[in-house]
């Protein structure tokens, strides 16, 4: 590590790409010019790190125990999230789609990486990767196999490509044998990957997403 005067050159860290130093210098420049305020950037970072799949899981768990809420979630997921005191994010439309015995949904953004990050946290690297973006639409069953998910023979697979500013969230099927579980316990079964549509929720014991 170098020992500079910090007012100009960002400290070089051997493990970081060139872009790291570049974006730090860019922030400094823009703050100095009054284009943005450092506080605005801090707030946005705080918001980003506060996002996790727990919010999406709460929506799903509530929908599982309350059919009226399921109806509201399906009609307008953004409004349903607000009802639960959750932040649905800046996208004006969030659409929740329900997996059933005969329909399974999977979400991708082939053109970039659109993702409901307010409700699920930042997308995993694989979601943003070129192979997922290519194959999720043309070989979705192959992709699901790679993820360890084999669908039953009579299940229709629907892939949703988020090409506009709608954000899509999958409501996975409630696991069998979960009838006695509380809403909080159910929420721990709902994994991030099950809300993208590449996995089923956990069957019994809670898992970290």
């Amino acid at each position: 590590m170098n020992d500079h005067d910090h007012s100009h050159a960002p400290i070089a860290n051997g493990d970081e790409p060139v872009a790291a130093g570049r974006v730090r210098a860019l922030e400094e420049l823009l703050v100095e010019k009054g284009v943005i305020a450092r506080e605005e950037v801090r707030e946005r970072i705080d918001w980003l790190v506060s996002r996790s799949p727990a919010d999406g899981a709460r929506l799903v768990a509530r929908a599982w125990v309350d059919p009226a809420f399921m109806g509201r979630l399906l009609a307008d997921a953004r409004a349903a999230a607000l009802q639960l005191g959750l932040d649905p994010g800046p996208s004006p439309v969030v659409v929740a789609v329900e997996n059933t015995e005969v329909v399974h949904h999977m979400v991708v953004c082939t053109l970039c990486s659109c993702y409901p990050k307010a409700l699920l946290g930042p997308p995993p690297d694989w979601y943003k990767s070129l192979p997922y973006r290519s194959r999720a639409v043309s070989d979705p069953r192959g992709v699901l196999s790679e993820f360890g998910l084999e669908l039953e023979d009579d299940v229709e697979l629907r892939v949703l490509d988020s090409t506009a500013d709608m954000r899509y969230l999958v409501i996975p099927r409630r696991p069998a044998g979960s009838e006695a579980m509380s809403e909080e316990e159910l929420a721990t079964l709902v994994t991030r990957d099950s809300m993208i549509g590449v996995a089923r929720p956990a069957a019994s014991a809670p898992v970290a997403s």
Partner: protein, 91 residues
Amino acid sequence: MHDRGGWPTETPIDRSEHELADWELLTDALVGALGRRGLMNVDELRRGIESMPPDKYEAASYYERWLFSVETVLAEKSVLAAGELDARLGE
């Protein structure tokens, strides 16, 4: 280049994940702040990313693409002067 649906690929999907680095969070936050200030919208962000030369697009990581786009769009709007950031880095 960005329109990837159905592109033939033999590359397996790498399921390893990484926590966002500080600089990546910063890049995301910068775009958000510029958005709120009306200086850069999400369509411009995407268009800027799509304007990357194909070999650079493929080689760049996700937030490296974002940074490229921010620099491109801000230069177009003269928020950044040509070469201004490079000059800052060279100091």
